[in-house]
Each structure stands twice: as C-alpha cells, then as structure tokens.
C-alpha cells in the first residue's frame, strides 16, 4: 500500500507526562476509506493518541502524519480537513443544535449562506435531530449530544472523521443509532474511532488496532484478527471412543495442535491446522476412519473479538510483568 493510501501514519509516536508514559512507540497505519477501530481498555492511551493527532497535545517522541501532513508542523491544515468528536462532547449550552452547527460551519466556510444552511439541514436530518434543531442543547440527552457531535464533525466534508468513544455511555438504542450513522458516513470519509465496546467493532469496522497500557499489541484487518493468532482452527464435537482418532490425527503433519475438552458424553476438539487446503479434504475423512467415533458437529472455529482482545491484552500484561 502506498504512503498516500494511509490517512494516518504514526512512526514511533509517544507521549510521556513526566515519568508516566501514556503512549509508547506507536506505529499505526490507517488506510483511506476504512472504518478503523482503535481498541483498548480504559487508560490504554487511545484519547492521548487522538489528541496528539489533532494538535491538542504535543508528542514527546516519534512523528506522525495525518492526510500526509505532519501533526506538529502542519496541524492547521490537518484540522481544516478532519472532523472530530470528543469522548464527552461539550458544546456551548446556550446554543441550539442548529446554532452549534452554524458556529462550527463558520469556522470553515464564509458562504454562500444558503448552502451553509442547506448543509446544516442535511446533517440534522442525517443524525435525526431535525425536530430538535432549534432547542437549546442544554436539555439534550446523551445520545442526542453524541449525534449532534457527529453532525458537527461532518460539517466540513472531512476526509477523515476521528471519533473518540462515539457510542460510550449510550443506551442500546442510542448506540444503534450512532453505529448506523457511522455506517452511512463510510462513503464520505475514512472513520478512525476509539472504543472499548467490542460488539460495535466487530459490526462496523474493517480494521482494528489494539492498544494496551500505551503499547500497540495488534493491528490487522478484522477478518485476519478474528482468525486468531494460532491460525485456522476447526471445531469437532464427537461421541464414542476418540482415543485412536486423536492419535491418528495428531500424527498428521498438517495438524499443529488439538485441544480436547470433555462435556458429558461428548468430546470437543479444537484442531489447529497449518495447511487449510489439506485440512479441508482430509480432516473429516481421517476422523471417520475410526468407526468407534461419531461426529455430532463440525465447523470452522469462529473467534469472537472479545476472545482475541482478552487474550492479547492478557499476553501483553504478562509480558510487561
């Protein structure tokens, strides 16, 4: 992928607050037109990274570019082309939603007035706030503030949308609305968002980076990450005497490991393979050679992001210790 294809590229980016290292050696690559989830537990350094990218804080090590521009020396230009939603968006409470969007638009555009108003109207509609457009935002719910936050971030037709925990603290309905809006904006902007809500990541993201205690511990397309670090694995649920089948299968060169678990009368295997093509052809046949074994269930192991996430974070914690 060429350099220009990455809307965000960091090279050893880091931030220390005195002795405390909030972010270490971050090498992040966010491809254009992706929905990129920046995942990590609370305090992992996600918000720090976002603030560095936007010039709201200065890096203590490394460099980064956003839309090909240096985050330290060319930040003005970056902010002209980026939309940002803070973790806890706070706007001027005396303004209405429409006035907030008008104020935000005024920082980018000086006219024509009718087009600005048209843009505001469009965004209010996208985020479903047309009915509340002229009410002071003081009385808005968390979900409404969040949606207004997405609308204001989008006011300048940004090439890149940076959303810090866009669905955090929202009820299921509010979360659903925010995710739908994000999906609808996919065609217009690259979306880089931080979150710790794993279900949302699996649903809307193309790529994921996982941050833990300031360190990047994984970065990959979501499908790749979901395959798991051990490679492709199959799940078999068996009945009968599985001992001989286990020995036969273990001896195969294309099998790297078999994890066995017994549950009542059934035996559960997770068979990790090194060659998927051979495994597809021979796995079931090899097991069925033993007529003392019945196969009750068979399939490709589907990892949940939570499983991957927890394992990576635990591994990283162990390594740090």
């Amino acid at each position: 992928m060429s350099l220009e294809s990455y809307v965000i590229q960091t090279d050893g980016l880091g931030k220390a607050y005195g002795e405390v290292r909030a972010l270490n050696n971050l090498d992040l690559k966010v491809p254009r037109n992706s929905i990129f989830a920046f995942l990590g537990p609370n305090g992992a350094g996600k918000t720090t990274t976002i603030k560095l990218l936007l010039g709201l804080a200065r890096p203590t090590m490394g460099t980064a570019t956003v839309l090909g521009r240096n985050i330290v020396t060319d930040n003005d230009e970056i902010r002209r082309n980026v939309g940002y939603l803070a973790q806890q968006p706070t706007f001027y409470k005396e303004l209405s939603a429409r006035e907030t969007l008008r104020f935000a638009a005024g920082l980018f555009f000086k006219g024509p007035k009718d087009l600005i108003e048209e843009r505001i109207e469009y965004l209010l509609e996208v985020v479903g706030l047309e009915d509340k457009a002229d009410r002071p935002i003081e009385g808005f719910s968390g979900g409404e503030i969040q949606r207004l936050g997405i609308a204001q971030a989008q006011v300048n037709f940004p090439e890149l949308l940076i959303l810090d925990e866009p669905a955090a603290g929202l009820d299921p309905e509010g979360r659903e609305q925010v995710l739908k809006i994000m999906e609808s904006l996919r065609a217009e902007s690259t979306i880089f968002y931080s979150t710790h809500i794993l279900d949302d990541v699996q649903r809307v993201s193309d790529r994921v980076a996982i941050l833990n205690k300031g360190n990047l511990i994984a970065q990959a397309p979501i499908e790749e990450l979901l395959v798991g670090s051990e490679g492709v694995a199959y799940v078999l649920v068996l009945e009968g005497d599985t001992q001989k089948a286990y020995s036969t299968l273990s001896a195969e060169k294309w099998v790297s490991s078999i994890t066995e678990r017994r549950e009542k009368e059934q035996t559960h295997w997770v068979v990790t393979v090194v060659d998927t093509a051979i495994a597809k052809k021979r796995l079931l046949r090899t097991v069925l050679q033993d007529d003392k074994v019945d196969i009750v269930d068979f399939g490709l192991k589907q990892y949940e992001l939570e499983e991957i996430f927890m394992r990576l974070v635990e591994e990283d914690d162990t390594n740090v210790q």
């Binding site: 603030k51 010039g55 706070t90 980018f108 000086k110 843009r119």
Partner: protein, 247 residues
C-alpha cells in the same frame, strides 16, 4: 446536496485563523442575549443607589460612585472572567473549538476583547450615564464630557481585573488560584490608590485619575499608562501560555 467546492472557504491563516467566527460568537454571547442590558440595569441601580447616599453633598456622591464602581462591578467581572476560559478548558468546549481550524491566539483574543467591551459598556458606561443624569438632577455640577472621560480609567480598572483573571485561567484549572490574585487587588486597591507614593504606581491608582478629572485636581497619568502596559503584558502572557497548553 452541494459538494465542498461550492462553498467559499474561510481564508484566515496564522494567528487570525478562526478569529472572525469566534469573535462574533463571543460578542453574541454578551450583546446578542439579555446579559448586556440585565447587567447594565443591575449596576445602574446599585451604583446610582450608592451615589445617592451623597444626595445632600453631590461631590461626596460622585466620589462614592467612583469608589463603588471600582469595587462592586469588579466582583462580577472577576467571577464572569474566570468562567470564560476556565470553564471552557474544564468542560472540553475549548478542546472542541481548537480541534477546528482555530488558532489559540485567536481563541484568547476573542475571549479578552468582547468581554472587555461588555464589561465596559454594561458595568461602567451605561450606569455612569444614568448616574450622571441622576447626580445632575440632584444638583451636582459635572461637565458631561469630563465625566464621560473620567469613566475611562474605571473601565481600564475593570479590564485589568478581567484580563488578569483570564490570564491566570490559562495557567490554572481551578477557581481558587485564578480568583485568589485579583480579589485582593479589588479590596486593597481603593486604599492603596490613596497612598502618596504607591498610589500612582499601579492600576489601583486609576480611581484617583477618574476622581481628579472631575474635581480638576492634578493627578499623575502614570496609572493609565502603567495599566495599558500591564494589559498588553497580560494579553501576551495569556496567549503564550495558552499556546503551550495541552488538553
């Protein structure tokens, strides 16, 4: 739906980036709401009431007006000013605004100047005019132009309190340290102003400049010059500090 190219983009760059929109918004916060006339009404009532104490002695009434116009609106000026920057830093609205194409210098200047205009107009100028009318009706012999000019040092004093408070708000994140410095100035200032040596050497002497303008006494212009210099320094320090602030 129109594309981005159909819009005229803001061309402000450097320190002016975002200034027009922010300045307009801040002006509107004061003059586009009820705040300006409510403050003007409040301070007119309070200052005229205090000034009326000297109903039997119009000159004493004028003196009391100046004294009260130095102290009481100052309390409101400090409280309102500390919120202007501190509240935005703490709530996150400053970070939001600065994530847009807005220079930090523009952000600070857009806070300092519209507030200054609001304080001067609503807390000193309008109450001053109303006091002038009332005092004249009571028999005070004040030249209108001289009286209006005498309000200028009082406005400078309020600006000093306001900008000092805002400058401190760029350094600290809590009200305590931000207000701890301007309040002693406010309460010690009137006494210090009358000190023969130290009186003219700081903004506190501005009240004596105002009084001397209407009484015709000679009083050094140092407080005015010193205050103008201090205001400039406070603005520059606030800008420099805010430019290195990290959110």
């Amino acid at each position: 739906m129109s594309s981005k190219t159909a819009f005229k983009t803001v061309t402000e760059t450097g320190w002016r980036m975002g200034f027009s929109a922010l300045f307009g918004k801040e002006l509107k916060t004061w003059f586009g709401t009820n705040a300006w006339w409510q403050q003007a009404l409040l301070w007119s009532l309070i200052l005229v009431l205090f000034g009326s104490v000297g109903i039997g002695d119009p000159e004493a009434g004028v003196f009391i007006f100046y004294m009260m116009a130095m102290i009481f609106p100052g309390i409101a000026v400090i409280i309102i000013s500390q919120e202007r920057i501190l509240e935005e830093k703490r709530s996150g609205s400053a970070a939001w605004v600065l994530s847009k194409p807005v220079s930090r210098t523009a952000f600070i200047i857009a806070k300092l100047v519209p507030s200054a205009l609001g304080f001067c107009l609503s807390m000193i100028f309008i109450p001053g005019i109303i006091f002038y009318v009332v005092a004249t009706m009571m028999g005070a012999t004040l030249l209108f132009v001289t009286f209006i000019i005498s309000l200028f040092p009082l406005m400078l004093w309020q600006l000093f309190l306001s900008w000092l408070t805002m400058c401190l708000a760029t350094f600290f994140n809590k009200e305590g340290p931000v207000m701890a410095v301007p309040f002693p100035f406010l309460f010690i200032g009137p006494s210090l102003a009358q000190h023969p040596i130290y009186g003219p050497l700081g903004p506190w002497g501005l009240i004596m400049s105002s009084i001397s303008m209407t009484t015709g006494d000679m009083y050094p212009v140092y407080p005015i010059i010193i205050t103008l210099v201090i205001l400039l320094v406070l603005a520059v320090v606030a800008v420099i500090r805010f430019r290195i602030h990290e959110f």
